[in-house]
Subunit: 362 residues, 2 copies
């Protein structure tokens, strides 16, 4: 088992990565504050893993309150959040109760936000069961629910006590979600670590074959990279923005198509190809370097071009209202060289339009 | 104008106390981060002060989004909170928008919680217009909404950028609310400052007559005391619990009668008399000292005994489920001497029952 420390002062915590962690009571015991644990999962993950985690928590001494939420991004709402509060209050959970989030990014976001605001904040443990959640959403303390007028509009920064990333749970992950998770893995190499990017080029097929050793390495290195960035900029006032590489274009794709058409990782895949193209177009990296990113995204089975229906005008409109846009300026995360990203708010619109022309499906 | 610093590291802020502050653009200008300010008030306070504050904010350079909520503790809900989010999103408020909470404790709690979680946290300014809010709820960063199964169950710690306590707004305060605010003022003297308690005995009539100088002193000293305690224990893991003097009994009264029968300050008034009686009964203070508290509460026009319908068994049951009860033990905030409070979880039930017998209306 590997362990990565996320250094955030008195909110520091470990990300533990390995195969078979979720059934081990010893992983939970040091982090249970009070007598009760509220195990929050969803209708898809619960039949697979809830019983195993519940048994481990009981062996660790907890009285377990189980909460099974409906599945899906469209359920990431106030209403679903309230199901957690209802269950916690019905079971008389006090402020020493620990929430355990078992599932993908949506479960982690809802359960984490519930932990952030239940009785003004209670401890929580992340047990991510998708690759996307293991390498991205469970790390960094961002929690949220959606509002009808915008994604992740209501939320909090709330750090977990520990993250247990069990790669054995990825065996049951649908291939489309495995690929979506790889988008964020590739992103970490692209923005921060050329050696890891090289490793991904050499080992992508092992990841697609779900070889545990390869998965552990990809998760560990991703968490190290994201953890280090978050440790330097917990509340996203600066550096953390580079984690949005591929996301400015990606969010426009998700939003323009209507959420749920493309999954997040697919939109980020195409978005990274666009961001790399734009980086090359403005002379920051070479065309060959942009092509390496495009090729790796393609090998991961992710789209390398935006959907045909979305016009450049619509992209520009959607990117301008993205909440990362400061004072009306569209901020792009671009590569200044392979393995190093910067935020730029001074990109000429004609270059953005050229990139969109080059990277949109005919 | 007096200014009190609440020392909380990078979350430190000033409480400014005086008459006529709310119309002064200079009070707001240093704390407006972005272009927009969302001015949140309620249907009772808005007709009195909204226009004046809105004008000051505009003079300070802000584009103002006005949000008027329904009035009343029973409206301190998710649904009302969502009205704030709806308005912020409809006006395309970004994460640099500043929320200005204009009103009593309920407005401050809702608007403050909205600020805590809108786009994972935006700045806010408290402009409390009730004595209770000026001396208590606007200080310390506690924000929350109620859940059908419990008061203040969903919330966050979120510190304001500044608190503007304008005693001129107390001229329009109903006398029942003025008295309710005095309960918390008396509490601050009782738990922390015997000199202030003496001053209150000498000046209570001036406060009831709303003399600005007296009000300023009472608000300033209360904020100093509460600010100092909060500065030492922001998240209520220890010392801050002494601010609950009178509240363990008080919450049982509010909850037992059904919320809204007695206002919070009335329940706290009777609760403080009970807590003082219990302190004397367990030999911590003299009977004469307990009587001084009772007399001051009576002079403030607050009840000095619990309602006749509530039995001792019901009090004990309600106090056991109070969220301040740790591991099933009822924790009482008692006086070890006038001006000094301690938390005790070892009080024999027979003493509690004796206090309830002595302090319940026939």
């Amino acid at each position: 088992m590997a362990s990565i420390r996320v250094a955030l002062g008195d909110r520091s915590y470990d990300i533990e990565v390995g195969a078979g962690l979720i059934g081990d009571p010893g992983r939970y015991r040091p982090h249970l504050m009070g007598r009760k644990a509220a195990l929050v999962s969803n209708a898809v993950v619960a039949p697979l893993y809830l019983e195993r985690v519940s048994r481990a928590l009981k062996s660790a001494g907890a009285e377990v309150v189980e909460v099974v939420l409906p599945d899906g991004e469209e359920k990431k709402t106030w209403q679903t959040l309230n199901l957690v509060f209802d269950a916690l209050l019905a079971a008389q959970c006090d402020r020493h109760t620990t929430i355990v989030a078992l599932g993908g990014g949506v479960v982690g976001d809802i359960a984490g936000f519930a932990a952030a605001v239940y009785q003004r904040g209670i401890p929580f443990i992340q047990v991510p069961t998708t690759l996307l959640a293991q390498v991205d959403s469970s790390v960094g303390g961002k929690t949220a629910v959606n509002h009808p007028l915008g994604k992740n509009m209501i939320g909090a920064f709330h750090q977990p006590r520990v993250v247990l990333a069990d790669v054995a749970t990825l065996e049951t992950l649908p291939v489309r979600e495995l690929r979506a998770g790889l988008a964020e893995v590739i992103k970490h190499g692209a923005i921060r670590d050329p050696v890891f990017f090289d490793w991904l080029e050499a080992n992508l097929d092992r990841l697609l074959a779900r070889e545990p050793d390869a998965l552990v390495h990809a998760v560990v290195r991703s968490c190290e990279i994201k953890g280090e960035i978050v440790g330097q900029d917990e509340r996203e006032t600066g550096l953390r923005a580079i984690l949005n590489f591929g996301h400015t274009f990606g969010h426009a794709i998700e939003s323009g198509l209507g959420y749920g058409q493309w999954v997040h990782g697919e939109a980020v895949g195409a978005g990274m190809v666009m961001a790399a193209d734009l980086s090359a177009r403005t002379g920051m990296i070479s065309g060959a370097q942009a092509t390496r990113i495009r090729d790796l995204v393609a090998r991961a089975g992710l789209p390398v071009a935006g959907p045909s229906g979305l016009t450049a005008d619509r992209y520009l409109e959607l990117m301008a209202v993205d909440k990362k846009a400061a004072a009306g300026k569209i901020r792009f995360v671009l590569l200044e060289k392979p393995g190093s990203a910067v935020v730029r708010a001074d990109i000429p619109e004609r270059d953005v339009r050229a990139t969109l022309r080059a990277c949109t499906a005919a």
